[in-house]
Amino acid sequence: MIKPFERRRRITVQRIKKKKSPFIYKSYSKKPKHTWLKKRKAAERRFRNAGLISILIAALFLVSLVFNIVSSGYSAFTGTQIKLSITFQTDLVENDAYRKIIQNALLDVFPDVKTRKEKRALFVLTSRNAVYELRDLVAQDPELIGTKKDIWLPAASAVSIFYKQRLLEESQRIGKINGDQAKWITLLAQSQRMKVKFNMPFFQNGDSREAEQAGIFASTVGSFFTILVCIMLAFPLGVATAIYLEEFAPKNWITSVIEININNLAAVPSIIFGLLGLSIYLNFFGMPRSSSLVGGMVLALLILPVIVISTRNALQAVPQSIRDAAIALGATPTQVVFHHTLIYALPGVMTGVILGVARAFGETAPLLMIGMVAFIADAPKNFTDPATTLPIQVYLWANNPELGFVEKTAAAIMVLLGFMILINLLAVYVRKRYEIKW
């Protein structure tokens, strides 16, 4: 009697449960009733996982790129200096023989260096630019002449790299230092005559034949001059073109041909613009070669379609009802554009312009064509001075096999990426801060 009663009760409980939760995926019977639902959910999961995996792969690439650049470039932000007791002998100073002064100081530290070969190896421990630093010191303070003083002088880049890597395992070290030099550097380090200092020359100097003296200042200034010219030309031209095409131009075949061409221009390889600049600006108009003026003009051509397209998109995003409202109030078409449409589209326009500028900032190929790939030691003072830009500086250094320039290249890339991130953050900020939601 009990058994059937119990069984029946169990069944009723099951039924109640089933009724209570019809949307919870749980099969009470042993038959898999919901296989289709299972399949659908599995497909959903598969798709999500595929997306996740692709993002992870992309992130992996990015991380390895950044790690590669940072690990080979961070050391360029520091430089090594050697302390030497310099005797400013009057006759040597008067003869401008500072090299001799430094050589004497080095020989004072290592008196047992005798042979020509050894001497030659010893004398390249300090940078060749140490001579100029000494000369500047004397020029600033003539009372130094005839005295003896401890002075920190820049080390050669190979020395610097060796010194900075001294804590690493032997096998991980890179560089061309012979046994004697390694010994001397270790001795100097032990006698507290070597120190690592923030590498100011990297941010103050232009290009140099000596890796330890090469800097990004001149190329950064060149970049800013070029970008300035580029913005001054491309912004008004691009925005005006977009406004005309979007708000005033009649819709006929001429305007559609123009439209198609502008869209195509955005896809033209950038080096073509460089060739255009070469043949028109330089050869036809005879403008100054490798100047930031011409560079900016070429880059303006390059980003003009970008600005036109983004401005048109921003203008299109302003609803027609706003234009109607302004027209119905009696505003002229020009007033509609300048009081309303353009104002409301401005965040989008600015975002487009900033992203265009970011592209121009990183552009290299067209500038090679107009001769901006030059050895520029001094920052340009005006728009017609020979100049180079940051990405071209990277290109120039990357071509230089000397070890000191390898880390400079990576460091310059880091600075370039830093500027890029700043520009893009600015674009994000402008969009978030001023965007109008319709």
Partner: protein
């Protein structure tokens, strides 16, 4: 020039039998497609004229002819005459800017500018230079806002954006913006279609008040609304006016079978 002057600066008397606007065999073509066929309609002074009819019948096209908004529509061609106070507004020497100051418009979807409430109302007077100094402008803005009953609601936040208001408030703001330029005729293109019943009732009240001062043309899809607010009604179908006349007559005793069917809800 003379004609224009007369068109703009005319009477303020409230003779309800007087014809304020008039269209004469008005036809509109979009490229080669004809949207309006020989429409002739009289719009009486200080009265509400309702335009009813199924979607796509040409009501909006007709309305946009009254303040020449169709000028900006690509491929739009107009024949016939539209007279405001007896002067054809499609004559070459008519200044559309001044015309639109006198014939204001309110749209289907509330479309305040994304500027402050004050700027929204002040924009019309500013571009028409209706006021000579800031105090006058402020007074005009306050007057316009009071006239649409929005003043009490927004007095303490005139500088907040017009888009922050509720839908009904936005639409009243748009009406305030339209009357700030001191128009004579106000065109309303389905002003309540995007609003809830309470906001709709508020707008309808407002229309009744505004009728004292302005001539109003209103498009509506709600038969009840047309019956409630309008004095005159015109029934559009397929780009033609099927029937027009007193609202009472149209709704209670229409001459045309189509009108009867439409009002009775048989099509549309």
């Amino acid at each position: 020039m003379n004609t224009k002057k007369k068109t703009i600066d005319t009477h303020t008397d409230n003779d309800k039998s007087e014809i304020r606007m008039k269209t004469q065999s008005l036809s509109v073509f979009y490229n080669n497609e004809q949207a309006l066929f020989d429409v002739s309609l009289d719009i009486y002074n200080n009265r509400v004229t309702a335009l009813i009819g199924p979607s796509g019948c040409g009501k909006s096209t007709f309305m946009r002819c009254l303040n020449r908004m169709n000028d900006y529509v690509e491929g739009c061609r107009i024949t016939g005459k539209v007279r405001l106070d007896g002067f054809n507004i499609y004559k070459d020497n008519v200044d559309t800017i001044l015309l639109r100051q006198k014939v204001g418009m309110v749209f289907q979807k509330p479309n305040p500018f994304p500027k402050s409430i004050f700027e929204n109302v002040a924009y019309g007077p500013k571009i028409h230079k209706l006021t000579s100094n800031k105090d006058e402008l402020e007074a005009l803005v306050v007057k316009s806002l009071k006239r649409v009953g929005l003043w009490e609601e927004v007095a303490d936040r005139l500088s907040s954006p017009g888009t922050s208001l509720s839908g009904g408030q936005q639409q009243r703001l748009c009406i305030a913006r339209a009357i700030a330029t001191e128009p004579e005729v106000i065109l309303m293109d389905e002003p309540c279609s995007a609003l809830d019943p309470i906001a709709t009732a508020r707008i309808e009240e407002l229309i009744a008040e505004l009728e004292q001062r302005y001539t109003i043309v209103i498009i509506t899809h709600s038969m009840q609304q047309a019956e409630r607010v309008s004095d005159q009604t015109a029934f559009f179908h397929m780009g033609k006016i099927i029937e027009s006349g007193n609202t009472e007559k149209i709704f209670n005793d229409p001459d045309n079978q189509k009108t009867k069917d439409y009002i009775g809800g048989k099509f549309g």
